[in-house]
């Protein structure tokens, strides 16, 4: 392993760990005022939604709402399964199956 690459990796590791630990340090040191605590309750739902929606809606750098967007269609199917079953295995399985089926049949294109 080259020394300068190792240095770079350690620096990356340091800033990444810092970003992960600093929230805990802040809360430990300053506590959480009531208003902030209420605000923080809604961070998880915001982050989760932000991790889901762009992946399904944005294909090839633009918003695609239509039958040509297989991820969106399969995402709607997966959302229904997720709502009904709350089961990760089933939701991922059915969703993946839906994407592959749509791709294999060339559904919605043209």
């Amino acid at each position: 392993m080259r020394f300068e690459v190792f240095l770079m990796i350690v620096a990356m590791g340091a800033v990444t760990y810092l970003s992960r630990v600093i929230g805990f340090v802040i809360v430990r040191t300053f506590g959480v005022p009531r208003a902030v605590a209420r605000w923080l309750t809604y961070v998880p739902v915001g982050i989760l939604t932000a991790l889901i929606v762009p992946t399904l809606l944005i294909r090839d750098g633009r918003v695609q709402i239509g039958l040509g967007n297989h991820y969106l269609l399969a995402g709607l199917v997966a959302a229904a399964v997720a709502y009904k079953t709350r089961n990760v295995f089933l939701t991922v399985g059915v969703g993946l199956g839906a994407v592959m089926l749509l791709q294999a049949t060339g559904f919605g294109i043209g």
Binding site: M8, M12, T16, R20, Y42, L51, V88, V92, L96
Partner: protein
Amino acid sequence: MKHHQTGAQSSTRLALSHTLPIIIGVTPFAIAYAVLGSAVSLQPLEIIAMSMIVFAGASQMVAVTMMQDPAVPMLLLVVTVALVNLRHLLMGVSMAPHLRHTSRPVQAAVAFFMIDESYALSMNRMQRFGFDIRYYFTCGAVFYIGWNALTAMGVFFGSLISDPFALPLDFVMPATFLVLVMPFLSQWPNILAALTAAVAAVLGALYLPGYWYIVIAAVLAAAVGAAVEGRLERRKGAQQHQPEEDRIDAV
């Protein structure tokens, strides 16, 4: 925590069964990272060391992408990685209050394993059972071992795979998060927060660089959620004092 032996066992077992399907979704990203790393002539050991030390898919991908241009200075690369990581700050601050009674070393370890997936799984479980630390660390360990094993696989066998994204495995992650977000969507403040995040994330992903869209979406969603909660509370308070007035559109 409040779990006795059987509870502890089921925490571990549940964490395993929740984590393993997600690992499948991580596979193409690990392989793509390893292949890109080899392409910018990182040595196998360097590629694996980065996964072990940094343990952050997005950051590592950004790093190897930037290294394609040899003119990029190391400082710029590290600063960019720090920016990619900004969402961790929000995640940490929102998780920390639930770990108030754990020791400093435990919190330090919790921070190391805090990735999108372990955060999402644990905050989901927390909705019903409080913060389950055994569940959290099991998830973290599985992701850590999985990410490094998959990186090694990518280093040694990545050249045999022409396109890691040929199978739509990048669909696994959003599908998983769909399950994890469901329990949140039972009250109005959360629903409106999610809608806000959806719009903000899409606009942000289109018009902002890097991963700012996650930070912006979470900040705005939290503001809307808190505002709606406050409004509902005030309305409830008002209702108790003057029951006639607020009946029309009580939620």
